[in-house]
Symmetry: C2
DNA sequence: CTGAAAGCGCTTACAG
DNA sequence: CTGAAAGCGCTTACAG
């Protein structure tokens, strides 16, 4: 009936029960602190008995390390970012860090939201699918909180970044489509102000140029299914339509296949090859069997958590590039089919 | 060069600059505390100048309210849960609460993971796509932390739950399929140990019984694309195959459509009607045009956050049922088509 | 309305 | 190896 008894035990309770000081209790719960095996055992026994575990908030206040990491996510409806978030959280947890999440609708909101994260004394900030202003970046830097962008980068001091090799992945796709014998190759861009879409376009068009192939057409689909549908309608409504379409992400590529099949009666890939980027789960569904560029989420998130801990130790900001891998599937004509066409 | 100058300002710094006490500074940042307009203005000005904002960790220690909420998510690869997580976080943030996230692979891990959450003194715990043991539930109850399950429930004292009306939604689907003139109706279950799958099956089979229709076949697909593929192969490989299939979620329904079309050469819905549950984004893609039961994520997450705050004030645990809505699309034959068939 | 003082639960030099 | 004491940054009765 004593309210105290129903609340969490504190270190002093454990100390009394074990007949030691609070310092000893603290040491028993601190990795590598000096405690004799005997005292530790006594303390651990008392702690179990009382259901004690150290208050992470109080510990954070005195150590000045909260062991919490801010994780900012902008678009969870995109399965790629859902995967990134899941992998990130799992890895932070394994490293003994707790993800304090921040969901934001638009990048612009970050300037007002991240300070709230900082108020919780997070040890660092991980930002996926979004970027941050220079004001915000310097604010974090002043507070000594490393910032790591995932899948975006920005030319600011003190901001780390991990991205897939978007230029390389897009170049590989250009090779694949040209080898497939395609003559009218189009590109569907994502959000225009993102480094990911720009890099994919640059890599793709650049490599086409090296192969003496001019880009046939270009539209923008803002990385969404709905906008991609409209863009693809324009693309396929032309007198002369493309015979291949590379989309800056898989969601848009899926929209392209749907529109091609159901609104234009085209066969994929016989009439139109379609490829995407991200290699989300739906890309492997039998209904699409979508050729895509695989981003290694595991390596990307490993790198991001690594940079965060590195930055925490005062390391210099870095930009890590994770290799991309072309995943060929049935939505694009392959070399042989292309050769047959030409014959 | 003074390290202090590069770190965050504290309330004492603001107090000195404004020529007041720390108490006054604290009050200026506390809703509804007694401060004169004049002093508050002085303090706010000094605070802005120093870039001060109260340390939420220290505040939480003394107020015994961290204003953080544990959010547990088990399966982000399921877009439905990604949506739930996003909506939940947005709503917590609006309520001035910060989501401390915990990603777990299997429900069983909760017993070891939630205590870590509790160590951070979260004010409550929201659990999506998973459930918890009675030991864990009573642990949270003892610590005075309300627990709210989303999309699952469990018969334990002190555990709140918010679910869609799974029984009602499944009953509506039974009506729809029977009205469509289907004679051999099958059900594809999700994870067998979840209340969601069990309730959907119970509602569906129960309503079929009331309509004097026996369930033609039943398989289990564990809520995943891959397992659903295998289950559907068994279902469609029979001498006499079903003419309608209700799947306990959309991902499995999409697998069913893919297998029916690409491995059995069937047309949907002419040869086989397929329906799902959740109404994820992919259900509205032209390639599937999937009839589904819509779960109102907005209402569900509103209710969950509401229960959490209610529980925090000592309200009794409750189970809230959010109405389900049948979303008819092209993957199921409708009344007229069914009538025509029969004619 | 305002300030001095106590205290939230912990860790960490500092002596011993 | 162990304990007494100070202090992390804040809020909140308590006087005034």
């Amino acid at each position: 009936m004593n309210p105290k008894s129903s609340l969490n035990a504190r270190s002093i309770d454990v100390a009394r029960l074990a007949g030691v000081s609070r310092s000893a209790v603290s040491r028993a719960f601190t990795e590598g602190a000096y405690v004799s095996g005997e005292t530790r055992a006594k303390i651990l026994k008392a702690a179990t008995q009382l259901g004690y575990s150290p208050n992470a908030i109080a510990r954070g206040l005195i150590t000045r390390r909260s062991r919490m990491v801010g994780v900012v996510v902008a678009d969870l409806s995109n399965p790629f970012y859902a995967r990134v978030l899941e992998a990130t959280c799992l890895k932070l947890q394994e490293a003994g860090l707790a993800p304090l999440m921040l969901s934001c609708r638009r990048s612009q909101d970050l300037d007002s939201l991240v300070p709230q994260l900082l108020a919780y004394q997070v040890d660092g900030v991980l930002i996926a699918a979004s970027t941050l202003s220079s004001t915000l970046a310097s604010q974090c830097a002043r507070a000594g909180r490393p910032v790591v962008l995932i899948n975006r980068y920005v030319n600011l001091d003190a901001v780390n970044a991990v991205t897939c090799d978007n230029v390389g992945g897009a170049r590989a796709m250009a090779d694949h489509l040209v080898q497939g014998g395609h003559k009218r190759i189009a590109f569907l861009a994502g959000l225009e102000d993102t480094s990911s879409s720009r890099d994919r376009e640059r890599g793709f068009v650049g490599r086409l140029g090296e192969l003496k192939v001019a880009l046939f057409a270009r539209e923008s689909g803002n990385y969404t299914y709905a906008d991609a549908c409209s863009a693809v309608r324009r693309l396929l409504g032309r007198r002369l339509r493309p015979d291949a379409l590379f989309c800056a992400n898989d969601t848009m590529a899926i929209a392209a296949i749907d529109i091609a099949r159901h609104e234009f009666g085209l066969e994929v890939p016989a009439d139109l090859s379609v490829a995407g980027y991200d290699n989300i789960e739906a890309a492997s569904w039998k209904g699409y069997d979508l050729t895509s560029v695989d981003q290694d989420v595991d390596r990307m998130t490993d790198a991001a958590v690594g940079l965060l801990q590195n930055g925490d130790k005062g390391g210099k900001p870095r930009h890590i590039l994770v290799p991309a891998r072309l995943e060929k599937r049935g939505s694009t004509r392959d070399v042989r089919a292309g050769a047959m066409r030409r014959a």
